[in-house]
């Protein structure tokens, strides 16, 4: 169980995130939505312990994550937004390093890496340098790295970025299966339709505040909107998208 209590992060006394609270039970997939600058990335960084909150707490199974960060991270799988890997390593070398740092035994590590590389269609490219990988291939390496140690908590920050249609389809089903298998999943994305299909619960942020936190199926009904897209636009949008699009066309044509 991941529990976030009144989480606040200030940068030079300006709040990036304020009083964010939510909880994710095992088996739940919480989708986090919000426009740019809404505090999604800051929230993710605090969830994985990269950032110390200005106030508030992140509890995992009842204990503050900062009390035993290494123990917490042993149970955490994380996929960052940018696949910023080490270009001179091969995919296999990177995964071996991650497996070793996660304390996996050599035989188990190598077997898992080989199997996951096969399943993610990366086996033929395993010994090529990461510099030669496409963004989608790097993203797949990161996904394998996150899943390598059978984590109980998964934090995904825009995991579908750069993935081809088939990989994205596999990944969406994978997340659903991970949730069904009792894992706790925090899923951050801009893509509403994926979040809508995959997540059991939704958290919508705007300017660092929680503007909605509901079960995914209930959100449009509670907000009396026809779809998640409408709900989202209504909750976070400060501008009229239709009007701005018209203005852009005018400027382009000028």
């Amino acid at each position: 169980m991941l529990e976030v209590r009144r989480l606040t992060k200030l940068y030079n006394s300006l709040p990036a995130v304020q009083n964010v609270s939510f909880s994710i039970a095992p088996g739940q997939i919480l989708g986090c939505l919000g426009p740019n600058g809404s505090g999604k990335s800051t929230t993710v960084k605090m969830l994985i312990g990269l950032l110390q909150p200005s106030s508030g707490q992140v509890l995992f199974n009842g204990a503050d994550i900062h009390a035993d960060l290494v123990g917490y991270r042993k149970q955490l799988g994380y996929v960052p937004e940018e696949p910023n890997l080490y270009p001179y390593l091969s995919g296999r070398e990177y995964l071996e390093m991650v497996g070793t740092l996660r304390g996996l035994g050599r035989a188990q590590r190598d077997q898992k890496i080989a199997d996951l590389l096969q399943l993610f269609s990366m086996y033929p490219h395993r010994d090529g340098s990461i510099a030669s990988y496409s963004k989608g291939m790097r993203q797949r390496i990161l996904l394998i790295a996150a899943l390598l140690d059978n984590p109980t908590l998964l934090v995904f920050d825009e995991p579908l970025s750069g993935l081809d249609v088939m990989s994205a389809l596999i990944f969406k089903n994978l997340i659903r299966r991970l949730g069904e298998g009792g894992r706790t999943v925090f899923y951050c994305s801009h893509v509403l339709e994926v979040v809508e299909k995959v997540c059991s619960h939704l958290l919508i942020l705007r300017a660092g505040d929680v503007v909605a936190y509901e079960a995914a199926a209930d959100l449009p009904r509670v907000r009396k909107e026809a779809s998640l897209e409408e709900t989202f636009a209504h909750l976070v949008s400060e501008i009229d998208a239709e009007k701005v699009a018209g203005e852009i066309i005018e400027v382009v044509a000028a």
């Binding site: 960084k45 290494v70 960052p80 080490y86 270009p87 001179y88 996660r102 304390g103 340098s129 030669s132």
Partner: protein
């Protein structure tokens, strides 16, 4: 149990140790460079390691002439004492070791500390931050050791052999070898550790943004200090040869002389002065290493643990002035086509903001500055008019800057960015060399103006105006000449032409300085009493410009067209007959 099985198990246990993995990762990161997505580095580091051994090897070979017994016999030097004669040379090796090792530390400056990539990849894993710090420090120490051994490897073998060429005693050879190896290794490590400590101190003391802002200037200052140490080495060797080191109190503040003491101490031949120097050297080495480690710990605490909170921002200057009056004037007078206007702004902004490119230009400028200053100091002045040396110095500076800029134009920026130019620029465009030449001259214009004003204030308006004219004409000529085969928009092509035939090109640069700086300066000196004598330049320039014109007219259109070719074309295309 077989030995193989045991060693395999030991190797596996080491490889399965997290500390080993972290050290390996950090070491790889430093060896392969900070630039994220280039595939070229595997071959690059091998070449770099080989090139770094060359200065010591060359110096050893040059000295063979001095120690050969046959040559002494032919010269009638029957009482030659190689032990005493080797002391000034030993000092040269020490300075060279310090220069190259310090240079390597400056080169690897950006990778010495952990960065955002490490933060995202390593920190979310179940690893103690303390362990990440220990691994990084260990990796830096290993890097220092690898480069210090590499830089001195050839000379460590060759030089003792050269010195003891006329001696039959193994004891003699071992004494020389022990002194030499101890001194150059200690000097190398000291130099690397000193640069590392300076970086650490500034990083620990300044905010990330402030450190980013001063980083280049700091590196430039260290590079100048190292070059001054090198250029001053020849005067110090004279004192060493005369045995008058103890009489020059200022020398004891030179770290390089401390390691000469270490050499003498290791040879077992140190008097009181050199014993004192040896003591200073060893204390200095330990102190810089300890200070470096402490500063690294503080910098780690201050920056890495808070890196997630920092918003990355481009370094350098906004250069808003390019859109102002100066920019408009340049657009109307010199930069005549849209390609030149946008290309010039792109180049200036890249040079202003890319650490890698700024550092490359700074290195050449520092060499020019030090060489020019040294020449001036050595040659003295010749009142009442400007001396030849005073004419030579700015020309040396300009020469180095022009070469530096030309070299830097070949260094690619982020490759993913060049699609914009590929998409927008017509493939038949032939303005690459013109843009390069104009950009070089425009970037050097401030130097020409400052030098001319100084000359004008010192020796009157006419001298200042003549100096401006000569510097401008020579700069335009050289810039046009070396940009003749340049077919790119600077920084946008990964095919680094300078890597091909790099050594011959470098060798041509050395005599080039006589043609560009020495000869014109002598002519200027001759013409200082009568400016009309400057017309003597006309025939020389006419020949050069005729040559440029000839080369240009013989280039086929393809050789002038802009290229973004990112790989070398294969010399032989193979037919796929199996298909």
């Amino acid at each position: 149990m077989s030995d193989d099985g045991l060693s395999d198990r030991i190797a596996q246990r080491v490889e399965d140790n997290p500390l080993y993995q972290l050290v390996k990762l950090k070491l790889g990161r430093m060896l392969h460079g900070a630039n994220p997505d280039s595939e070229d580095f595997d071959s690059g580091i091998g070449v770099a390691l080989s090139v770094l051994t060359l200065p010591g090897a060359f110096l050893s070979l040059i000295l063979f002439n001095k120690y050969g017994s046959l040559l002494h016999f032919l010269r009638g030097q029957l009482k030659f004492d190689p032990y005493a004669a080797s002391l000034p040379d030993e000092y040269l090796f020490i300075v060279l070791a310090m220069l190259v090792s310090g240079g390597v530390a400056l080169w690897k400056w950006d990778t010495l500390f952990l960065d955002r990539r490490d933060l995202v990849n390593i920190v979310p894993l179940p690893v103690h931050t303390r362990q990440i710090f220990q691994a990084s420090l260990l990796a830096v120490a290993l890097l220092a050791l690898i480069f210090c051994v590499d830089v001195n490897a050839v000379s460590a073998v060759l030089y003792p052999l050269v010195v003891s060429a006329s001696q039959e005693s193994f004891l003699f050879w071992s004494g020389i070898a022990l002194g030499h190896v101890t001194a150059i290794l200690a000097a190398s490590l000291f130099s690397f550790a000193a640069v590392f400590a300076i970086a650490g101190i500034f990083m620990a003391g300044l905010s990330a943004r402030a450190f980013q802002a001063v980083s280049l200037y700091l590196r430039g200052a260290i590079a100048v200090a190292l070059l001054l140490l090198f250029s001053g080495a020849f005067s110090v060797t004279a004192y060493i040869g005369q045995g008058t080191v103890a009489q020059h109190a200022a020398l004891r503040y030179l770290p390089s002389i401390w390691f000469l003491g270490v050499c003498q101490w290791a040879r077992g031949d140190a008097g009181a002065t050199f014993r004192h120097f040896a003591f200073l050297g060893l204390i200095g080495l330990v102190t810089t290493a300890v200070v470096g480690a402490l500063a690294y710990a503080l910098a780690y605490q201050r920056h890495f643990s808070r890196m997630a909170e920092l918003v990355p921002s481009p370094s350098g200057h906004s250069l808003a002035g390019l859109n102002s009056l100066v920019g408009r004037v340049l657009d109307r007078t010199i930069l005549r086509t849209p390609f030149e206007r946008s290309g010039f702004r792109f180049v200036v902004r890249t040079l202003g903001r890319s650490d890698r490119h700024r550092a490359a230009v700074a290195v050449f400028a520092a060499i020019g500055l030090v060489a020019g200053t040294e020449y001036l100091l050595w040659s003295g002045v010749d009142p009442p008019g400007p001396s030849t040396a005073q004419f030579v110095s700015p020309l040396i500076l300009l020469y180095c800057c022009i070469l530096g800029l030309r070299y830097t134009f070949d260094l690619p920026v982020e490759l993913n960015a060049n699609w914009v130019f590929r998409f927008l620029i017509a493939p038949t465009l032939e303005e690459g060399s013109t843009l390069a030449a104009k950009t070089i001259v425009l970037l050097l214009l401030p130097i020409i103006v400052v030098v001319s004003v100084v000359f004008g204030m010192g020796w009157g308006f006419v001298v200042g105006a003549c100096e401006a004219l000569v510097l401008a004409v020579l700069s335009v000529t050289l810039a046009t000449g070396i940009a003749l085969s340049f077919r790119k928009l600077p920084f946008t092509c990964a095919k680094a032409a300078f890597q091909q035939n790099a050594l011959p090109k470098l060798l041509i640069c050395v005599p080039g300085i006589f043609v560009f700086a020495m000869l014109p300066a002598n002519l200027q000196h001759w013409a200082r009493s009568n400016p009309m004598r400057l017309l003597v330049f006309v025939p020389f320039l006419a020949v050069v410009w005729w040559g440029i014109y000839e080369v240009r007219s013989r280039q086929v259109s393809f050789e002038r067209q802009i290229t973004f070719q990112e790989t070398d074309e294969t010399a032989i295309a193979l037919l796929n007959l199996s298909a």
